[in-house]
Amino acid sequence: MRMQTPDEALASAAATGDRDAFAALLGRHYDRIFALAFRLTGSRAEAEDLTQDICLALPAKLGSWRGEARFTTWLYRVTVNAAHDRRRRAATRSRAADGWGDWEVNRRAGIAEEAAAQDWLVATMARLSPELRDTVALTLGEELSQREAAEVLGISEGTVAWRMSEVKKRLRALARAEGML
């Protein structure tokens, strides 16, 4: 029966203390959070830690759930914000613990075991700024519309469009650079 209940109703029930609703909700969305976390961070370990942080925090965060947005949009926002906070903390550590950046370092060290396609992805993501990474993770990875991505990121649709044009520009530049090699 729970399987048919919309996310929003489950969230509202969970917010008022319905344990089963919360369990159902989290079970339904763990994989989604993890996937986005991975797309945002580019590292399994980072993504697992981040997802766990979010799971831990979610019961309390649900206290601020007002049903004003779609639950997935709200959840994406929670995830992006948590990733942002984590990145900010990481950026201040002496070592650059930025996942995609780490990957790039590892790749250069020859440790990467990924296929060539994966390698290209890693190299490309590492060359985008965190903001652009977040944006492509949502628009390309999660296939959100620009409007939805804007809602998640708390920015205007125009900014998402502008960022995507920036991404295209950089991808073209990268492709040119590759062609020259």
Partner: protein, 702 residues
């Protein structure tokens, strides 16, 4: 869609591996425990005065933690995340608090954190431990100030700064110890280093209640209410200001180095910075004192340029130096033409507004909004305004909108709120993109960057940023920088941006200052009449033994740059005034500091009726080639008028505040007397204010 984008999409779609089942199970289990804790706790304390459907009252304090963290500079964030702050302080303070028998769920006791921290940890390396905080009994809730370094509050018991504390044993997954555990730890201070240092503490979740509530405040955009900014305002934050300056110009010997070259500077940022320091009861930092900007702050009555000639007029005068009877002051005054405002071209303005957390103070974002509102009244209906913000993420807040639609612009301004860190570079890039999109023939495009200068995120390479702005200069878009607030005013970056972006830097500390910069001088601030204006003075060694340029240290140019049109220099806006002062020692004066050389070539006997020769190079806005204006400087000194004496008094004040070595015994009393006697008609009271500040500085430097 491009191939590359498609490729990126495919890559990202397939990138995430299947979640690890064990990690999934662990996370779900922890989540359920977290859920139970919250809801059990809520039931147990249901009788407490706490509105149930809403978040617990104390969440408001945690919101404070969250906001505090968002205010921390990244350096400080490294030191303390909320959970570390919470556990650290609760550990340090618990014994004290327990005496007061504060029970969980009871109204939190308020404890002044800083003294308590000091008391429990005497001899601590209290690195900036000024974080006065409100502490509640367990579950501990902390509210602290921006910039507070909480590390110091908790770490000292370990006998060493937290950064050197032993490696933690706690693991994220295992870190969720119960409340009882954290109490046990509190009674065993030896456990503290372990709690304090775990990857910056971010993953620690030792006190579950506190942790989960902290998390609840972590959802940006949900947690804003319930936060009392006044609790954060008055506390001392670490000062991260950076000012641009060079050593004062030395005395030059005219026979050896007869040519002095510098770029025009119409900035006025230094004066308000000096003023706000003095008004706060402190002498300004030496580097904040740029004498030319202080002198240029004040309006003078220079003759206006003649119609049909150059868009500005330079006038020179020579008069006795107030602080040295043996020298003269040479004043070069430049007055920009003031075109009739009806004839001005329409404007494209992009407000690039820093909405980072540090902008929250009353003298930053709120003042900025008021200032821009004042300015909107000066715009004409055909002018267009766009607003771009940057804070963590950059965004276009207001599409290009005609100034006639004032409601929409004011609405967008009103909606701005501060939060997040500062992605300055992305914001600038987007502002330039917007300005380029608005560009049209016959319009003047200008970006007005309003910031406290805290460009802490997104600039991996300041050199590259300067290069980016310098590149955009070619596109004809001007960049002006308006500084707000103190504390982390990055004056150096602001100067660099404005100088590279063909613009001015001004500092706004009060609404009257906004009136001066954005309303009274709006036309000057927004309409350039001459670009790349360079000044070169060749002194006549027959008439001048030594000379010294007062100020303009950051604007010095090489002699050969004067004729090089590719070398950038300052702009003059409509109605702008620029004043430069040289202290000149006439040949044969007893005030000469250097002895003539025994073996050097003696100065030729030459004609001493000319003191020197003044050359000015300038470009019409947008032009590639410069034009030259020349005029000889007569050697006969004249009477100093009010303007000249007042400018000299301000130059003297600047030297007293920075490097008084050329002033001899001339001091504050003389400066005050000189300025007070040279106020002229002073319609806006700027000069009277200056005299008041000199008196303040005199008292402060005694």
């Amino acid at each position: 869609m491009s191939d590359e984008l498609e490729r990126l999409r495919d890559g990202l779609k397939s990138a995430p591996p299947a979640p690890d089942a064990a990690a999934r199970a662990r996370a779900l289990k922890l989540a359920m425990e977290s859920f139970d804790r919250i809801h059990d706790a809520a039931q147990e304390t249901a009788q407490a005065a706490r509105p149930m459907p809403d978040r617990p009252k104390r969440a408001g304090f945690l919101t404070g933690v969250r906001l505090m963290l968002s205010h921390l500079s990244p350096r400080a964030t490294l030191a303390a995340t909320a959970s570390v702050a919470v556990i650290g302080l609760s550990l340090a303070l618990y014994p004290t608090l327990r005496r007061d028998a504060v029970l969980p769920g009871a109204q939190p006791a308020r404890v002044d954190g800083a003294p308590a921290a000091e008391a429990t940890a005497p001899g601590a390396e209290a690195r900036k431990a000024e974080a006065p905080a409100e502490i509640a009994a367990p579950p501990a809730i902390v509210e602290a100030t921006p910039g507070a370094d909480l590390r110091a509050a908790g770490a000292p018991a370990a006998g060493a700064p937290a950064t050197t504390a032993p490696v933690p044993a706690a693991d994220t997954s295992g870190a969720v110890s119960s409340l009882a555990d954290s109490r046990r730890e509190a009674e065993a201070p030896a456990a503290m280093p372990q709690a304090m240092e775990h990857e910056g503490g971010a993953q620690m979740a030792p006190a579950p209640l506190a942790r989960s509530r902290e998390s609840s405040a972590e959802v940006g955009g949900f947690a804003a209410p319930g936060f009392a900014p006044d609790a954060l305002a008055p506390l001392p934050a670490p000062d991260t200001e950076a000012f641009a300056n060079e050593d004062p110009n030395p005395v030059k010997i005219a026979a050896e180095e007869p040519v002095s070259t510098f770029s025009i500077d119409t900035d006025t940022a230094s004066w308000p910075v000096v003023r706000s320091s003095l008004a706060a009861g402190m002498l300004p930092p030496r580097e904040a004192v740029r004498i030319e900007e202080m002198v240029n702050y004040f309006p003078y009555g220079y003759p206006a340029p003649e119609a049909g000639g150059a868009p500005f007029r330079a006038s020179v005068s020579l008069f006795p130096t107030p602080w040295n009877a043996g020298t003269r002051l040479l004043r070069i005054g430049i007055q920009g033409a003031l075109p009739a405002t009806d004839a001005r071209p329409p404007l494209n303005l992009v407000f690039l507004i820093d909405t980072s957390g540090s902008m929250e103070d009353a003298n930053k974002l709120p003042l900025l909004k008021q200032s821009f509102r004042l300015m909107l009244g000066q715009l004409r209906p055909e002018d267009r305004v766009a607003i771009v913000t940057y804070a963590g993420s950059a965004g276009l807040v207001l599409e290009p909108t005609p100034a006639a639609d004032r409601g929409a612009i004011e609405g967008a301004l009103d909606r701005l709120s501060a939060g997040g860190s500062t992605a300055g570079q992305e914001g600038l890039q987007q502002a330039y993109a917007v300005a380029e999109g608005m560009g049209a023939e016959g319009r003047v495009s200008r970006i007005l960057l309003a910031t406290d200068g805290d460009f802490n995120v997104g600039i991996s390479d300041p050199g590259a940023l300067k290069g980016f702005i310098a590149g955009k200069r070619e596109s004809g878009i001007y960049l002006s920088v308006l500084g707000f607030g103190r504390g982390n005013l990055d004056d150096a970056t602001m100067q660099a941006l404005a100088q590279n972006g063909n613009g001015t830097a001004a500092y706004i500390d009060t609404l009257p200052e906004a009136q001066k910069v954005l309303v009274d001088q709006l036309s000057g601030a927004l309409f350039p009449i001459a670009d790349d204006v360079k000044v070169q003075v060749e002194f006549n060694p027959a008439a001048v033994a030594e000379y010294r340029l007062i100020g303009y240290e950051t604007r010095a140019l090489a002699r050969e740059d004067f004729n090089n049109d590719r070398v950038d220099a300052g702009e003059i806006g409509a109605g702008h005034q620029v004043t430069a002062l040289y202290e000149v020692t006439p040949a044969g004066s007893p005030a000469r500091l250097s002895d003539p050389l025994r073996y050097g070539t003696a100065p030729e006997g030459g004609d001493a009726s000319e003191l020197g020769f003044l050359k000015l190079r300038w470009k019409a806005p947008g032009a590639a080639h410069s034009q030259l204006v020349e005029t000889p400087i007569p050697a006969a000194p004249g009477e100093a008028g009010d303007d000249a004496r007042f400018a000299a008094a301000i130059a003297g004040m600047g030297q007293l505040l920075s490097e008084p070595k050329y002033l001899g015994t001339w001091g504050w009393d003389e400066a005050i007397a000189l300025a007070a006697g040279a106020k002229g008609d002073d319609p806006y009271g700027y000069r009277a204010e200056a005299v008041g500040l000199m008196r303040l500085a005199a008292s402060l430097s005694r």
